[in-house]
């Protein structure tokens, strides 16, 4: 082989540039040619496409969901919507029911990475005589997140709303005071998760700020809802 021919060969120079083998002035010259000489730029691009085949040997690794969330913000100027806001299940169930309603829906997980809409597997509804308070809830079994959304009404003045889980045949266990935000997620303690199932009941009571001082409901029960499988 004639090395002089080799060194003058544009295709080899293009490959060296595509691989990043060159440094200093050699790199600068090649960089300038890419900018000025379309034929040379095409050679570089053709090599890049061939070398991309090397990546066949690299195993895919699932990217964390926050990357897509950041891209949505960067590209679409979108605030980072939480999963329960994206899935949009609560309005379709509750609709315009003119009553206090508590709905529990357990959704299948595996949806965050793909953005697909999950399929509800549980639902419970209850209408009370009081039409002031409308609350919907969704439960994500995999993470133990219980998402609650106040759709109408709120706590009485200087009072709080407290959420309770009443296991089948059991006594109310506090799931916490409902946050002031219209929608928020509570994490159900691990020990209670098995009870959050068909047959159990969710309830909301009127309590002093900070919640019941006794560990049991002390005020009016404003809404309750049994959980049933869809």
């Amino acid at each position: 082989m004639n090395d002089q021919t080799t060194y003058d060969d544009d295709s080899v120079l293009a490959a060296e540039y595509a691989l990043g083998l060159l440094e200093g002035p050699e790199w600068q010259l090649a960089e300038a040619r890419v900018a000025e000489d379309q034929g040379f730029a095409d050679l570089v691009h053709a090599w890049e496409i061939e070398f991309a085949g090397i990546a066949d040997e690299i195993a895919p690794v699932a990217a964390p969901p926050r990357v897509l969330a950041s891209l949505r913000r960067d590209i679409f100027g979108e605030q980072d919507r939480r999963w329960w806001q994206r899935i949009g299940l609560i309005p379709s169930i509750v609709g315009a029911v003119a009553a206090a309603v508590l709905v529990l829906i357990a959704v299948e997980f595996g949806v965050l990475d793909t953005g697909r809409v999950p399929v509800p597997t549980y639902q419970a509804e209850l209408a009370s005589e009081d039409a002031e308070l409308v609350v919907a809830a969704a439960y994500l079994e995999e993470t133990g997140d219980l998402v609650i959304e106040r759709r109408a009404g709120g706590p009485r003045p200087n009072r709080a709303l407290e959420l309770w889980l009443i296991p089948e045949g059991g006594t109310p266990v506090s799931l916490g005071v409902m946050p002031e935000d219209r929608s928020a997620a509570l994490t159900v303690p691990r020990a209670l998760r098995a009870d959050l199932d068909a047959g159990a009941v969710l309830a909301i009571s009127d309590e002093p700020p900070g919640g019941s001082p006794t560990g049991a409901p002390t005020g009016d029960v404003l809404a309750t809802g049994p959980i049933t499988a869809l």
Binding site: M1, S11, F51, D56, E57, V67
Partner: protein
């Protein structure tokens, strides 16, 4: 195995992405991000840097999709090129450090990284022919193929390779230039 996304699907997604279709962009992201994240991780060997780079890569893809010409390149190769080049740029922007995928305790960082399963909708390349460049590597002396891989995935320059193989830089150049010519001949067959 989940639904497959083939080359034609990806070309459609890229074309629609080029028109500003965000659903197409997200579908494309879902189909390709695990592969590109794997590439970024392989080059950078650092999860948080790979995440940042992956984000930059898809911003670049969003901007550049309108210029993608089907036929000139497979969409996956085009995207891999963007990911690899971006990751290499970032690698070089680092202060020079000794990098290896083997930790001090002898375990392999990359083996851990590969534990994450890809999403079900990731592009499935199975059934496609093994990349021609990999078949052509088999016609090269083994250390030359390793040198090309190191340049592509580890950002090695001629100077780095000369150090690694413990040969004078001009020897390294002569070796690799001959190998690149052989590679070109093989690829054009």
């Amino acid at each position: 195995m989940g639904p497959m996304t083939d080359r034609a699907d990806l070309e459609t997604m890229l074309a629609r992405t080029g028109l500003g279709d965000r659903d197409a962009f997200e579908a494309m992201y879902n189909a390709t991000s695990a592969k590109l994240f794997g590439v970024c991780l392989r080059v950078l060997k650092n999860r948080s840097e790979a995440e940042d780079t992956l984000q930059e890569v898809y911003l670049r893809i969003w901007d550049a999709a309108v210029g993608f010409r089907p036929g000139a390149a497979s969409p996956m190769s085009w995207m891999i090129t963007i990911a690899r080049n971006r990751a290499i740029d970032r690698l070089r922007a680092r202060k020079p450090v000794t990098e290896t995928s083997t930790r001090a305790d002898g375990t392999d960082l990359l083996a851990d990284l590969a534990d994450d399963a890809p999403g079900p909708e990731q592009v499935v390349l199975a059934g496609e022919v093994r990349a021609q460049v990999l078949r052509c590597f088999e016609e090269l002396p083994e250390d030359r193929a390793i040198a090309v891989r190191r340049a592509y995935l580890d950002g090695d320059s001629y100077a780095d390779l000369a150090r690694h193989f413990d040969v004078p830089m001009n020897t390294m150049r002569t070796w690799l230039r001959r190998s690149l010519l052989k590679l070109r001949d093989c690829l054009s067959r």
